[in-house]
Symmetry: C2
Subunit: 220 residues, 2 copies
């Protein structure tokens, strides 16, 4: 199977399919039609068929999809049968929240270390991980085959840290710092810009209300 | 100005424009061409012009955009001159991380309360907010004109809490629970599904490597 041409929009939807199929599987449901899946996920059946066609279709039209097969195939496409070694840079509340989230481990994302520049935190344990000084980050990445770094540090520090990570062989950065990183093409970055998400929510609230009031906003 | 027809994709990009323009403004830059902005933001100049045309264009082609004016206009479109009252449901690490993030307040997002079902946390303070019992959530929402609720609770609890919030007049939900919420049309939901984001990163890492190795993955 050659996934080269798949758009990021489709890729971005795969984890959601995976989540719903996992729940169906847990409920003991063996087959589902694209229409039923459409009703459940609130996307059109045509969108579902188009998305799945990117990967060869997965199923028999009219007969429905085999839930467990589809779940496993999507998991395989997402690479979830592989494990990834992660470190977290920044042991603040957000870093700790992520380190504590057990679900990631079940999907093969193994947290191997957590680093901070604050000496007061050194040695403190987050689950089974001792917070280590930033100075140890680079050698740790190399020695422990870390492939993903999670950045939960202020934006001013993110670029410098990302550069060091790249030099030491990291393959992906999960970036919570509120800045876009410039990295070589072989490094994958996935941003979680929380402020952007909150602003979008506020826009949609304001917009809905100005529409339903029948008084679209005007320039002052 | 009538924003009714603007796609969510465009809306989703506005906060990023806002962020870059804010930084340019802080650096004292007064004008920028769409080409310069394109180089900086790594999107095409044509995309920038198309996005801005949704809102009337903002600028003089060839002459460039006035940074401060554009910054303020986009802020106005995003509704950032308004304030929003927020509560956080779930005082775990993630809830605490969000409560502690000062930048939200600077944008007019005011955290007014934080709730948890764990009695051991009642009365504990996160910045200036005392953690309150879940039982007080509904009356608090009504009495304090809360318009946005942030859900940082397990997925099994999210639907029930969302229903109560809706009944008490909430207008938007910033949902970190790993489940899609079913709410009436007048309620806006913005999801931050962290696992989905991490899976997408893993996919891109795997994909890049199977491509560059020249050995696309095959079915076993």
């Amino acid at each position: 199977m050659d996934n080269k041409e798949i758009s990021q929009a489709v890729i971005g939807r795969l984890p959601r399919y995976f989540r719903y199929l996992g729940e169906l599987k847990d409920e003991g449901i063996e087959r589902i039609s694209s229409q039923e899946l459409s009703d459940l996920m609130k996307v059109t059946a045509s969108q579902i068929r188009q998305d799945f066609n990117n990967f060869g279709g997965f199923g028999q039209q009219g007969y429905g999809y085999k839930v467990e097969y589809l779940y496993e195939e999507i998991g395989r496409i997402l690479g979830l049968e592989k494990t990834h070694n992660l470190i977290i840079i920044g042991a603040g509340n957000l870093g700790q929240a992520l380190a504590n989230y057990m679900n990631f481990e079940r999907r093969g994302f193994l947290f191997k270390g957590i680093f901070d520049k604050n000496p007061a935190l050194y040695g403190k344990k987050i689950r089974n991980l001792e917070i280590k000084p930033m100075e140890e980050m680079e050698s740790f990445v190399k020695q422990n085959e870390i492939d993903i770094a999670v950045l939960t540090i202020p934006k001013g520090e993110a670029a410098g840290v990302a550069e060091k990570l790249v030099q030491n062989g990291i393959r992906g950065i999960w970036n919570f710092a509120h800045v876009d990183l410039t990295v070589p093409k072989n490094i994958q970055v996935e941003n979680v810009h929380l402020s952007d998400s909150l602003m979008k929510l506020a826009y949609n609230i304001n917009q809905y209300e100005s529409e339903s009031a029948g008084t679209p906003e005007r320039n002052p």
